[in-house]
Subunit: 395 residues, 2 copies
């Protein structure tokens, strides 16, 4: 299937006979309607379960859903579907070794009760009066899924070690990952209190927790990270079927410490070259606007790549993975002045995609000297809860 779609994409690149030979910076000219039509035809031909990959995104990302009600119940969980809210809290819980499926369902039902009421304003806590709704996410860690023989994606597994990893086990892994996001840290803190009370009553223990936040950004604009660069450009639409597998998906979480002072000490063009994008606009070095597609084959007249071989945007390019994309969701964290950076969350049906990308980044990314991965987790993002029901009730 990927090969079929890649061929279709290649056919759409006929204005550039051999992309490797493109002499000067050039923006690929792709007809959006042709692309969508090709994609639709392929998807129709291959059936609904097919993973549809898209090698190019010619236009701006789909506008994020507007603010408003956040339904907890639905086919897919709100923490992936909904736009990112500015304050977030992650909790990782461990379950006793004797936990069986019934005990897990009880825990998930208790968590669902809190999360459903966090979404519709029904939590009986006066401290939350008037608080806007929260989005949420629950995901099962690989070890628990294996232990209970849960119907998780076959690809669900902890990540391999990457060069340069400095993972703290006390901040990594976990049997159940929960995330709540809201407009204010006040709200996520209070919800954490309720979630923990419910979870510990159901026998779980807290393994780690992590708070994060977004910088101020007008609605629909890509938030910046602590390096000052936009983070999340060229994301797929969260409703993209390629991200889902039977309304579930896989979360990859990485806690990435960023040496902001050392990065800021680079000259401005050095920062742009390391990233492959311009800090101010977010445009790729081969383009003029944020959502221009990076042309990783474009070269300067002297033969060097416009987007350097070590640029982050090149090494993370979906072109190097047959067009497969993950939905990236980053929040900044700032725990101490020497431990601040990015909470990288990404959703994809198979975490092997992350492994391929991170292997390239860890080896050659010009940003790598400024980054330290300090924690890691993977989880099966459960399908959403049906109306009136709870997460995981079918397990």
């Amino acid at each position: 299937m990927k090969r079929v779609l890649s061929s279709a994409m290649a056919a759409m690149h006929t204005e550039r006979a051999n992309p490797q030979d493109t002499a000067a910076p050039a923006r690929p000219r792709i007809d959006r309607r042709s692309l969508l039509a090709a994609g639709a035809a392929l998807a129709a031909g291959a059936g609904a379960a097919t993973v549809l990959t898209r090698e190019d995104r010619p236009g701006p990302a789909a506008a994020p859903p507007p603010p408003g009600p956040v339904p907890f119940h639905g086919a897919r969980q709100s923490g992936v579907l909904h736009r990112q809210l500015p304050a977030t809290r992650l909790l990782a819980l461990d379950l006793p070794a004797a936990t069986d499926r019934a005990a897990l369902r009880t825990l998930l039902a208790a968590a669902s009760d809190v999360l459903a009421r966090a979404a519709d304003g029904g939590l009986a806590d006066p401290r939350l009066t008037g608080a806007p709704p929260a989005t949420s996410l629950a995901a099962i860690g690989p070890a628990l899924a294996a232990r209970l023989h849960l119907p998780a994606p076959a690809a669900l597994a902890e990540l391999p070690a990457f060069p340069g990893d400095r993972l703290d086990p006390a901040r990594s892994g976990g049997d159940l990952l929960l995330q709540v996001s809201a407009e204010q840290p006040w709200t996520t803190g209070i919800l954490t209190e309720h979630l923990l009370a419910a979870a510990t009553a159901a026998g779980a223990t807290l393994r780690w927790h992590q708070a994060g936040f977004l910088p101020p950004a007008p609605d629909g604009q890509t938030p910046r990270n602590l390096f000052g660069f936009k983070d999340g450009t060229a994301n797929p639409d969260p409703a993209d079927p390629a991200l889902w597998q039977q309304d579930g998906t896989v979360l990859v979480y990485r806690r990435i410490r960023m040496d902001t002072a050392a990065f800021a000490a680079l000259p401005a063009d050095g920062r742009d070259l390391a990233t492959g994008r311009r800090a101010d606009t977010g445009a790729p070095l081969t383009g003029t606007a944020e959502h221009d597609d990076p042309d990783i084959y474009a070269k300067h007249p002297d033969g060097s790549y416009v987007i350097p071989a070590t640029a982050h945007v090149r090494l993370s390019s979906p072109r190097l993975d047959g067009g497969a994309r993950m939905l990236r969701r980053g929040w900044s964290y700032d725990d101490t002045p020497t431990d601040r950076g990015l909470l990288f969350l990404a959703f994809m049906p198979d975490p092997a995609l992350f492994t391929r990308v991170q292997t390239r980044l860890a080896e050659r990314d010009a940003l790598t000297p400024f980054l330290t991965h300090t924690a890691s987790a993977v989880g099966w993002v459960l399908p959403g809860a049906r109306e009136g029901g709870a997460l995981g009730e079918g397990l």
Copy 2:
């Protein structure tokens, strides 16, 4: 002077011959104009340098200053004068033993440069583009003030130990305390980066840092703490001359862990009795509205106090301190699910006032079983920087 004013206040209570004998819950009936006239007359008679204490506050607190420009330069520092902004960051720096006044002035000039530009949007950091202005505060710790024989208030001293204190020295004290507050944690985090870079370049080292936040509250409303109670009711106006001494004042900082789960397990009326106010409205148990003056003498028909002997609002009542008030500024913090509570900041010309109040609270306050003081600091809040100048340049 205090005795004179107390007498004037007592004279205004003539409708209740002996306050201790008041039988039923009753709101004191005080004529606001008489009180103000009496205060003005006393102040005029005693001269401008007199500390005017006020035993009663009959009306609502003065409305907070509206949002808008935050001048860094001025007679008094913005971190005290301006309304509280929702995100805050405290930094405590230590200076080398060999630091002299000139080195301190250099450090303060470097910090002032960052803070002045944080207030007027002039920091050349694209990550702060469009960020609303920040308020700030700089205060000198007692040890440094003594070492350099600075013209600090004579009363400047570390606090004594209180019963129940569990102070972490690594989170307490410091030679220079800095605070920045802004609309977003993003902004305070980036400003912290700039402040630390400037301070370390000037030879200082970071002793501790602490982030805090306010819950959502409509402008002008008193924010709630993690117990769900309004915190900061009946504050004096920040411009109240009683708070200042030659445009400086003294900061008392306490990091107070709150056992929210245990407190929430009390029945609702038990929480109100422990506090002496109603959680929903913030009204004292002897009143109907938040800014009603608590009547600590009011009794039930059975002779018991309406505001119990152990209620927080009674034990912290300015009536017990000759009317002296501190300006309280609380932010919540939530570092981990088991370490969350209140960053208590208060401003007063003499920290002995805090010592008297905290001595009563530590011994008898019904809230004390739910509170643990984990850090403490005191600092001389320097007078503001003159136009175009820096904090501390006259030292």
